[in-house]
C-alpha cells in the first residue's frame, strides 16, 4: 500500500492522521522556510528542516519517520538528529515496548531561543572574543608608534563593543523564562512609547 517514492505531502497526511490538507501544506511550507533560513545563517539546511518537522509534529517521531518525511538517508538522519540533540533543542524519548528511539522538539519558543543563543555564543562567540583579546595583546608593548597606537585603538573599540554584546547575551541567557519577556518589553516601552505588533 505504501509507494516506494512517495509524495511527502500526501504521505505526511496519512502518517499523523492529518485529515487537514491545509495543515499539511502549511507544514511543508514551514519546513522549507525554516531550512532556507538555517542555511543563510550557517546551519545545514537538513538540520533546520528536521527541527522544523519535529517542532510541528504532534507526536514524537523516529529515525525512519524523519527519513521518509524528508526524503533523506539513514546516515544523514542519524547524524542530524544527534547534532540537534547536542544543541539541546530536541529530546530522545523511549516508548515502552518499542526498541526504536523517538525524538521530540522543545516546544517552548522562549527556551528554544535561549538555548540556541547559549549554544552559538558558547561555540562561536566566546572563542572569538578570547582570540581577539590575545590578538590585541600582541601589540600591547608597542605603544608610541602612531600607526600601532591607531591599530590598538581600533581593536580596543571593537573589543569594548563585543564585551557589551557579551554582557547582554549573558543577561538574556541567565534571566528566567518569566522575566525575559518582561525585560524585553520594558526595554521597548520604557524608553520609547510604541511596541508595534
Amino acid at each position: 500500500m505504501k509507494s516506494e517514492v512517495s509524495n511527502p505531502v500526501s504521505d505526511t497526511v496519512e502518517r499523523d492522521g492529518a485529515n487537514d490538507p491545509q495543515r499539511a501544506a502549511a507544514r511543508e511550507r514551514f519546513i522549507a522556510l525554516w531550512g532556507q533560513m538555517g542555511s543563510s545563517w550557517g546551519i545545514p539546511r537538513t538540520m533546520a528542516e528536521v527541527h522544523a518537522l519535529l517542532f510541528l509534529s504532534p507526536e514524537a517521531l523516529n529515525t525512519d519517520d524523519v527519513m521518509e518525511r524528508l526524503g533523506i538517508s539513514r546516515g544523514n538522519a542519524s547524524m542530524t538528529l544527534r547534532a540537534l540533540g547536542e544543541w539541546g533543542i530536541i529530546r530522545r524519548v523511549h516508548r515502552r515496548g518499542d526498541r526504536k528511539e523517538y525524538f521530540e522538539a522543545e516546544h517552548d519558543v522562549i527556551r528554544l531561543f535561549r538555548t540556541i543563543l547559549r549554544e552559538r555564543k558558547r561555540r562561536e562567540f566566546d572563542p572569538l572574543l578570547d582570540e581577539l583579546r590575545t590578538c590585541r595583546d600582541l601589540t600591547e608593548g608597542d605603544a608610541g608608534n602612531a600607526a600601532t597606537d591607531e591599530h590598538n585603538r581600533r581593536l580596543d573599540d571593537l573589543l569594548e563593543l563585543l564585551h557589551l554584546v557579551d554582557a547582554i547575551t549573558n543577561h538574556v541567557i541567565d534571566t528566567s523564562d518569566e522575566d525575559i519577556l518582561v525585560t524585553a518589553r520594558m526595554m521597548l516601552t520604557g524608553l520609547e512609547e510604541e511596541v508595534d505588533a
Copy 2:
C-alpha cells in the same frame, strides 16, 4: 624589487610603512580570525577578510592592494569590494591625480554593528517573518480540529517571539549612536547590579 609571490606579512610590513612586525603579525591574525567568524555566520570568508584588512588599514587601499595582501584574484576582489559597499560597511574614496579607486572601512564600531544588523534583518529576517505570517494564515480557517489548533498555537508562539525580536531590533537600529550604548548599559545595570568587564 617586489617579488611575484610574496609573503603577506613581510610584504604588508613594507606597504604601509609598518616597521612594527608585532603589528603585522597581529593584523594577519585578526584577518584570519574575522574570516573564520564570518564563515561560521554565513558570510564568505574572503568577504570578511577583506573587511578585516580595511578595518585595520591606516590608509584606504585599492583593488590591487587587496589582491596582493590577501592573495586573491582580481575578479574576487572586485566582487567582494562591491558587496561590502552594498552592505554599507566600506566606502569608495577617490584620490586626485589617481584613476584607481580606493576603499576604506567604517571605523566607528557602533555604526558598523548597526549597519550589519540593519542589513541582515532587511535581507533575511524581514522576508522570513512575512513568509511565516503567510504560512500561518494558510490554516486560519481550519480551527476546531485538535491537531490543527495545536499546529496553529505553535506557529503563533513562534510569531509572537519573532515579533518581539523584530521590535527590539528596530529599536536598536533606529536609536541614535549616542543613545544606544546608554540604553544597553541601562538594560544591564538597571535590572541586575553587575555589568562585568
